[in-house]
Amino acid sequence: MGKFILYRLAQFPLILAIIYLVTFALVWVAPGDPLDQPDRNIDPGTKQALRQQFHADSAVGFLAYYPWRLITTGDFGPSMANPDWSVNEILLRSLPVSITLGLFAILLATVIGVAVGTLAALARGGVFDWLSLSLTLAGISLPSFVVASLLLSLFAVKLGWFGVGSWGSVRDLVLPGIALSLLPMAYIARLTRVAMIDVLSSDFVRTARAKGLRRSAVIWRHCLRNAFLPVLSYLGPAMAIAMTGSFVVEKVFNVPGLGQHFVNSVTNRDRTLILGVVLVYGTMVLLFNLLVDLAYAWVDPRIEMQVGGGNG
């Protein structure tokens, strides 16, 4: 197990380095410059001086400066579009916000999704099953800006139960959290339902029932554990996505998270910030995939961790 974790961790730097270089290449060939404004040109001498200040006058100069700085000091450098802030400061301020929101959304999605999926499987073909299927379909197909705007206008503006555009209390978490959780919740409910139906008709369940175990005990102890495995493999990428923020949900609720930087940094050609957010996202995806693999083995001891194999 320890060897497996070490092996996977050892792959991280290589994967992240590739991500860094590919992102850098894309960023560098994109037309436009972080210093350009649509209607006002900066004096060419000034522009050159600013480029030099940012070590951005040539691709070689950029690569000679920033990656080394990142490896030795963990510093991504200054944000080229918001020069008062370093990329590290921006990430450190927005990442906790996104992580909080993402965790809340995933927690909500997992608990409700698994419960709904299980109940639907048990009542297969019944009214609840039909109802949950329709609701999950709506959850998957409704775009988040529709859900977010509906929640905002109903619960915050009309009823005044929640504040608008503020951040800092548990209350501020609820609406964006729900908006962000609906899609993964719907997925989890459907994954659980399918897996549960599958497990319920398997031999060991019949055997357990035949041995005289109560239905609830069979479901709790045996079925759920097996039915949860597909959900678990979905949770890795879902968590990485939820915890690095959603541009749309953040925009509607004015949440100061990381999601906005994915879009704004590209629009601004803020090269250092783009690299920062992409690496953070990459790290999260790698980390959560590893965690999911570990949780897999932990939930289902039949799965063995092998170096070079794994389950993710």
């Binding site: 037309p31 301020r93 004015n254």
Partner: protein, 563 residues
């Protein structure tokens, strides 16, 4: 089973931790909460160039002169008085004895010298405003040259030292600053109230953020200094800046005019999305939005809201022609001929654009400089909407009914509603002139780059002025201006502007600038479409907000009437 339950439990525990990590503690509520226009790009006055940054900076800093909402003219700020020499080139400022920094230190002439030198040493978007000062441009270029030579490996002893002593900025003593200009600049006091001319408190900048180049002596202040704790000299101090969340300003007790400042705490809330900002206003989370999103504004105009205010802005939306003899691809450029440009200009019904497309109270314009924003300046008449004349002009230029007109493209950026206007204009040119124009909508940064490299034939453009003088507009079309994207070269225009810069009599000076604009409008390197407006939403209990074209505010005078 316990293992399965543990997963949500661990998630819950993590959530509690994350909440704690990202949480904000309860604080005293602010007297005024308002939304500027997104988070400021920077609060470093020497490098700021965006309107929203400059608006906010005037709460934190004060120049020798300052914007005063009760007057058209800049009013004394740190300077108590000024003596101007008879040739209009030497300004001797006498500093106010009571002017203090927010840490209690007196504001001295050296603080201005330091800040202005730094703007020349470490140039940014508005450094060129300092080039009116004698020797400033040469010094700035020499610093850049010397640093380039050093980077290229030149021997430090062999390079020519930039001499700051040759620049016309001198601290005679702590209370006297003398500035020598290249030529008379009638709006120099106005410039002295602009962010680029604010002083800086050198001693409070952390030593690791500031350096002086060992060879050139150039000052460099590194990113991150303009954050709390920041020593400033304006009516407010920067107490907190939570990136993209909130800025909290506190009344500066050391400010010389503190007795006139009514508010104690101001919160500037960051909201990038116009609709989110509006919802915050509607639910009472903010009291004032300084710059309302156009789509929200259109709804507010329809709703006839009396807390929504539309006033004349400080800029113009227009289309610009590339006026070079040849196009970027080497073909002959039809727009080199002024008659073709005039024909295109006369074929657009601008009134329909403002009443059916833009919808937030903008005024259709026939002039480049918005009418009525400068005292003593009578705007000339531009080209009117006249389809028969447009057809005739095109025919005279050799394209009767648009026949034989080469394939051309209209460049615009796809954000902010430019596309709807472009489509309408394209239709008008097709219907009225018989000319097919292809539309090329690109993303904003690509647009900026294409435009600067003059890779366009016609493009959408806009210009927003900086200071209260017509030259803030007219300078853009000087043949040597770096912002003259049209590449329009007119010797007479340059001559009229140069004559105006030397003219001391305000009426004769304005007459020269009016002639220059008339020439610009007749020659039509551009087609003015409409003048911008300022769109402000504010609660009636917020007092002291004075509408003005630049949408700047005098934070000293803001107050909240009990409600």
């Amino acid at each position: 089973m316990t293992r399965l339950v543990l997963i949500p439990l661990v998630l819950l525990l993590l959530l509690a931790g994350a909440l704690f990590w990202s949480g904000v503690t309860a604080e005293k509520p602010a007297d005024l909460r308002w939304i500027n226009a997104g988070d400021p790009k920077t609060l470093d006055p020497g490098s700021m160039s965006w309107g929203q940054d400059i608006r906010l900076a005037s709460a934190l800093w004060e120049g020798l002169y300052r914007f005063d909402s009760t007057s058209d003219q800049p009013q004394p700020g740190v300077a108590q008085s000024v003596d101007v020499s008879s040739d209009g080139c030497t300004y001797t400022f006498h500093l106010r004895p009571g002017a203090l920094w927010s840490n209690g230190d007196p504001v001295v002439a050296g603080d201005f010298v330091f800040a202005w030198k730094r703007v020349l040493d470490q140039p940014a978007g508005y450094t060129s405003l300092l080039f009116y000062i004698d020797g400033a441009q040469e010094y700035c270029q020499n610093v850049q040259l010397a640093q380039q030579q050093l980077r290229d490996g030149a021997d430090p002893s062999a390079i020519s030292q930039p001499q700051f002593s040759l620049v016309g900025i001198h601290a005679v003593d702590d209370a006297t600053l003398r500035v020598q200009l290249k030529h008379p600049v009638p709006y120099f006091l106005e410039l002295c109230s602009f962010a680029t001319f604010y002083p800086l408190h050198e001693r409070s900048i952390a030593p690791d953020l500031i350096s002086r180049h060992p060879v050139t002596g150039a000052i460099e202040i590194r990113q991150g200094f303009a954050k709390p704790p920041l020593v400033t000299n304006g009516p407010f101090t920067l107490s907190q800046w939570s990136y993209k969340q909130r800025i909290r300003l506190l009344k500066n007790p050391y400010y010389w005019g503190a007795s006139e400042v009514s508010l104690n705490i101001i919160d500037v809330i960051s909201a990038e999305d116009g609709f989110a900002a509006f919802q915050m206003y509607e639910t009472g989370a903010v009291d004032w939005i300084a710059d309302v999103n156009p789509e929200v504004a259109a709804k507010l105009v329809r709703a006839n809201r009396d807390d929504f205010h539309v006033t004349t802005g400080f800029g113009t939306y227009y289309y610009e022609f590339l006026c070079d003899r040849t196009l970027p691809d080497g073909r002959a450029n039809p727009f080199f001929d002024p008659r073709v440009r005039q024909a295109f200009a006369r074929a657009i019904d601008k009134q329909t654009i403002v009443s059916n497309i833009v919808l937030t109270g903008e005024k259709a314009s026939d002039t480049y400089i918005p009418r009525g924003i400068f005292a003593n300046y009578d705007s000339p008449r531009g080209l009117s909407y006249d389809v028969p004349r447009a057809r005739q002009l095109l025919e005279e230029a050799g394209y009767p009914g648009g026949q034989g007109f080469p394939k051309i493209t209209l460049l615009y950026n796809t954000n902010a509603g430019h596309e709807a206007i472009a489509q309408y204009v394209r239709r008008q040119w097709l219907d009225h002139l018989g000319v097919q124009v292809a539309l090329e909508g690109v993303e904003v940064k690509t647009f900026g780059a294409l435009k600067e490299q003059k890779k366009f034939q016609i493009c959408r453009a806009s210009w927003i002025g900086d200071y209260s003088d017509p030259t803030t507009f007219s300078d853009k079309y000087l043949s040597f201006s770096q912002n003259n994207d049209a590449g329009w070269v007119n010797v007479e225009y340059d001559r009229l502007c140069a004559a105006a810069s030397l003219e001391q009599d305000v009426h004769r000076r304005m007459a020269l600038l009016e002639q220059a604009e008339q020439l610009l409008l007749d020659e039509a390197p551009l087609i003015p479409i409409y003048n911008y407006v300022n769109r402000v939403l504010r609660r009636p209990y917020v007092k002291g907000l004075q509408p003005n074209p630049r949408n700047q505010q005098d934070f000293r005078r803001l107050r909240i009437e009990k409600h």
